[in-house]
Amino acid sequence: MSLQDLYQEIILDHGKSPRNFGELDPYTHEAEGFNPLCGDQVRLMVRIADGKIEDLKFSGHGCAISTASASMMTQLLKGKSVEDALKLVDKFRKAMTEDGDHGDMGELGCLSGVREFPNRVKCATLAWHALKSAVTTGGKVTTE
């Protein structure tokens, strides 16, 4: 596994210029993801209407991996039903932590290299944990 495999162009791009970065107003659901080991922090704001994610944004600070992962997640989930979004969250988390063939991950496939760097997996999954907390509890929670 080389550095170029981990830090693919698309990750560097999203890391440098994250999409959907900032505050969402108004939002219906919110959660904070916090990695106590490194201090990475992501705040996720989601607007849900009729069981659908109308819009979502994130703010906070983190490494290239966590920022890129959050950025790509917001792009993929915008317009999806909450049900489909949660399915994708589970699929992504499995792909990050479990060996084996996880099928076509689309754009997220570029993050598959992270699995070879076990201490960076939490960076990649931070925003996804936060998303799940936000939409399942519907309140303001902190995930670790």
Binding site: L6, C38, G39, H61, G62, A64, R120
Partner: protein
Amino acid sequence: MEPGTLDVSSTRAEFPALHQSVSGVPLTYLDNAATTQKPQSVIDSVDEFYEQDNANVHRGVHQLSQRATKAYEDARAALANWIGAASDAEVVFTKGCTEGLNLVAASWGGSNLQGNDTVLVSTMEHHSNIVPWQMTAERTGAKVEPIPITDAVELDLEWLAARLAKGGVKAVAVKSVCNVSGTVNPIKEVARLAHEHGALIVVDAAQGLAHQKVSVQDWDADFVAFTAHKAYGPMGIGALYGRKALLENMPPYQTGGGMVRGVTFEKTNFAEPPERFEAGTPNVAGAIGFATAIDFLERVGVEAMARHENCLAKLAEERLSEIPGLKIHGKAKHKAGIVSFTMTEAHPHDVGTVLDQYGVAVRTGHHCCMPLMARLGVPATTRASFACYNNTTDVENLFNAVIKVKELFG
């Protein structure tokens, strides 16, 4: 020519773990503030204890137990001598600095602090010298107040003097060397100020042992917490120095075997210090390894080590400063061999991962100093920390790997 007066290559040869490759390149180990590697003599002394003398201490009449007890108490004496304690009884073996500081906060703090009392804790403290005080404060009603620091990461001594003069301060908690910025704090001066106003000084010397010649009496410190593994010794062993008059009047921290004089169901009488604070079977092999590490510090010369490490850290600072967008945190006048930096292009975690791929081991993150990170205005830093076995090649490897970060993320 290597800086300082150390014979670096022969010192380096004593450390088996340094002679390996990671990611296909020779290891550049610059995470010494997290833990140093161990010389063969320390590894052998721990092995020899288990191979030849293994027995419990203070409770057997057989030969092995007598040998183990003697080795354990000799280790205490060696440590007491090295740190300049007035007597061996002032040295309590712990599992590390964290336990030592928890012991002071719980035992001394728990029995001496009340509602109107304040403990001053410096902003640059490690969580292990903050959280135990918060816990004690919760139980006693005392307050924990931060001592501000300057932009250079130095204690604001003027503020400290003024705050002490206002009264109500029972203890001042500071570290002797900062694990993030390398700042060497003026412990003697802080002790003088604290004592002038009737407060005690509690020193976290986690980084101190390997980087400065410690003398608890010269410092005039009341409590000093040490750990072995950051000074070439084994993990899981440390020591707390406490002034005899203080230890004698403190209640036990943990209770059980080995720390009592007599037990009935009506009443238990506790042993005198240091045994009072060493409940249960101690880490005898660790204590022996700790004493062997002290031998190593003495043999190589801790002052020569400090000079050598400072030269390397200065060189690293100079080289890294050439890189645009790289900021070094902590510009204290007196520094030990620790360099923390951030880069505009890359988060410390990405820096750490890239460096690791080039064989360079550094620490990235908040270094268990979140209040200091907040004061510096960064979520995390990358930290390179030097030991006696590092050389200028290590500095160049660090520099070259940081350049790779710049290329990848720039």
